[in-house]
Amino acid sequence: MASETTATGIVAIPEPTSDGSLWGFSRPQRIAFIVLLVFLGVAPFAGLYPVFLMKLLCFGLFACAFNLLIGYVGLLSFGHAAYFGMGGYIAGHTAKVMGVPPELAIILGGVVGAALGAVFGWVAIRRQGIYFAMITLALSQLVYFVCVQAPFTGGEDGIQAIPRGKLFGIIDLSPDLSMYWVVATVFVIGFLLVHRIVHSPFGMVMKAIKENEPRATSLGYRTDDYKLLAFILSAGLAGVAGATKSLVFGIATLTDVHWSMSGEVVLMTLVGGLGTVFGPLVGAAVIVTMQNYLAEWGAWVTVIQGGIFVACVLAFRRGIVGEIGALLRVKL
């Protein structure tokens, strides 16, 4: 207990990437990553429904992208649904109307997410704390209203019947399992990218900004540039996640640009564990599982959800993964 009390407030300086291992994974992280890979490989054959798994991975990637910003730069963006939803709309529109192949649609979703992030980030990073959150929320609401009105989004009906298409023109993605491997690959690439960014020299500066921005400035870093770049990377990844999701489900709708989606990704990250590598995925898994499997309990969904959140907040302050990490005395 004593160690815990002294640790609060004073956070240890991140150790320089240690044993020269690839991607900067520590040993427990490497084990956890291998477990994750095995799980991804086995899950669809172990009775878990592929579409459900794909949804989980899409939200997992979304939460990872969000975590990059809040967990490592300390910026609470309350408008990430804009990039997520817009990525989905762009991918859906290009795949359905223009007949773009799925891999390109996903990339386009990411590019548009990043571009949107560049503009919004440029405006928002000038402020901190609650003002930053409010500006991102306001800008994302702007996007929401555009999506309600713009003809290409289909208004409240959304873009329906988006074809999954053929990967590289060869592999038909309409069977759930082949789509699953694509989504799993996208997720693993995105996940490793986030991890790589965090453990790069750039990531070290991000963490320095999170701990003490004036000090980072005094050391000669242009903190605004770093924050903007982190924002763009995060928005781009959110766009990729949204694009992938719209291909999986064949729909892109207002739900994904609505502010409640921005709130949901905050919850996923908090429940999973802020600033942990695996936390966002676990958090996304918990929330998505609840939405899916509690659906059969009818009106009890919201009550049970609420109860679980209360329990999480009271019992797992550091999030699920954070608590497990603290228990095992490792950083996950």
Binding site: G47, Y49, V51, F52, K55, F145, V148, Q149, G154, G155, E156, D157, G158, Q160, A161, S174, D176, K245, F249, G250, I251, T253, L254, T255, D256, V286, T289, M290, Q291, N292, Y293, L294, A295, E296, W297, G298, A299, V301, T302, I304, G307, I308, A311, C312, L314, A315, F316
Partner: protein, 410 residues
């Protein structure tokens, strides 16, 4: 004591999380069981319109159908008005042996499930969505749209209202595609019936809760009818605020383009009196509707059915009759064949009387223009409507050749 509480809470959270899981695996597929999945809103905006009551109406249909050589099972899920949740559940259901999905309010979810049903070649009966695309550009051989759509509401409220004397209109419209469509269609019917549209005002959607300036503007136009081209909470707010301004008491009619009996019940007659709206079912319409309402009462307790909830009864009953007619094995082989058999058979039930289903998947039934009674006129609980006009089944919906449904052209 922190540790104890913490352990207790984590234990509770864990148990709750685990409790949800075995649901996915506990589905043994029996060859002689027909599974109906009711997918609707159990907790949000549309709960009171159908939700648990729609499920009870479906169960009533199953009970009345009785044992006919096969078992019928009804399962339920809450799509939380989210298309991705709806798609996920419907795919899972169809893959795991659900034969027909029923209800599905919210247009975006209704259309999404439409695509899934077609891909999996299963049966899908939508009773809850308002979009007329389900029998138009998005129509599918696997789908029947059983109840109201925007065209039918606009035609009855617009056209029949003019015949009932309301010949000059002013629209208060939610500024998004649904509101625009309602206003455009209704305006066309008003003009076609010889009425005039004096003006309109569009308010930002969502996030408008103060309608007073729009209502004053509408009143200043001296129109006889104020058309509310919006839905849900917006409609309820407009009606309440109109009552505060005393608009209806001065002889101006308020026409709600999408409103149901439970909404009137929620607002109360004092506020809702004089409101004009369209439904295809009213419990006190005739002997048959009163009979089915009486039979349903033990299940619904103190709630009366409305057109959206009781449509599930009507649809499930007709579906089961078609299954009996073609045999369980044949019905499981192809959703299209089931829907085709349903289209070939004439419908008849106590809720909507005799009816039929068109090739584009549109179930035909009459629509009724009602006026909400004043508290003095109402003699019993739920005695809310008086009938103004009836639009016969053949005229109530969009003509077959105007919907651009690909099934009709081929």
């Amino acid at each position: 004591m922190t540790t104890t509480r913490r352990t207790l809470l984590s234990g509770a959270a864990g148990t709750a999380a685990l409790g949800g899981l075995p649901f996915s695996s506990a589905r043994a597929q029996a060859a002689n069981t027909i599974k109906i999945g009711v997918l609707n809103d159990q907790s949000g905006t549309y709960r009171d319109i159908s939700g648990p009551y729609g499920v009870e109406c479906t169960r009533q249909a199953v009970a009345e159908f009785g044992a006919q050589g096969f078992n019928v099972e009804v399962i339920v899920a809450d799509h939380q008005n989210r298309p991705d949740v709806g798609v996920n559940i419907s795919r899972q259901w169809y893959d795991q042996g659900v034969d027909m999905i029923l209800d599905v309010p919210t247009s975006s979810v209704g259309l999404a499930v439409n695509t899934v049903a077609r891909e999996k070649n299963k049966a899908y009966i939508n009773t809850g969505s308002a979009t007329s695309d389900l029998t138009g550009t998005a129509c599918s051989p696997n789908t029947i749209h059983w109840m109201y759509d925007t065209y039918m509401l606009a035609k009855s409220t617009g056209g029949a209202m003019v015949r009932a004397g309301g010949d000059s209109w002013f629209f208060i419209t939610a500024d998004y595609a649904f509101g625009h469509a309602l206003e455009r269609d209704t305006g066309n019917f008003v003009r076609a019936a010889g009425g005039r549209v004096l003006g309109n005002v569009r308010y930002p959607f969502p996030a408008t809760s103060d309608f007073s300036s729009f209502l004053v503007q509408a009143q200043a136009s001296r129109a006889k009818v104020i058309g509310l081209a919006n839905a849900g909470a917006d409609t309820i707010n407009s009606v309440k605020q109109a009552a505060e301004f005393g608009i209806t008491r001065r002889g101006v009619k308020l026409a709600a383009l999408l409103m149901f009996l439970p909404d009137v019940h929620a607002i109360g007659l004092e506020t809702a009196q004089g409101l004009v709206l369209t439904e295809s079912f009213y419990w006190d319409l005739n002997d048959r509707t009163r009979a089915i309402t009486t039979r349903l009462q033990p299940r619904l307790r103190d709630i009366k059915p409305n057109m959206a909830s009781i449509a599930n009864y009507s649809a499930a009953l007709h579906y089961l009759k078609a299954i009996k007619d073609m045999g369980v094995a044949a019905s499981k082989a192809s959703g299209i064949e089931v829907i085709n058999r349903m289209k070939a058979m004439p419908c008849d039930d106590d809720a909507f009387g005799a009816g039929s289903i068109r090739p584009d998947g549109r179930k035909l039934c009459p629509s009724y223009l009602f006026e909400v009674k004043s508290p003095a006129e109402s003699r019993a609980p739920w005695d809310y409507y008086k009938l103004l006009q009836t639009t016969p089944a053949e005229e109530a919906f969009r003509p077959l050749n105007e919907g651009n449904c690909p099934l009709v052209r081929s």
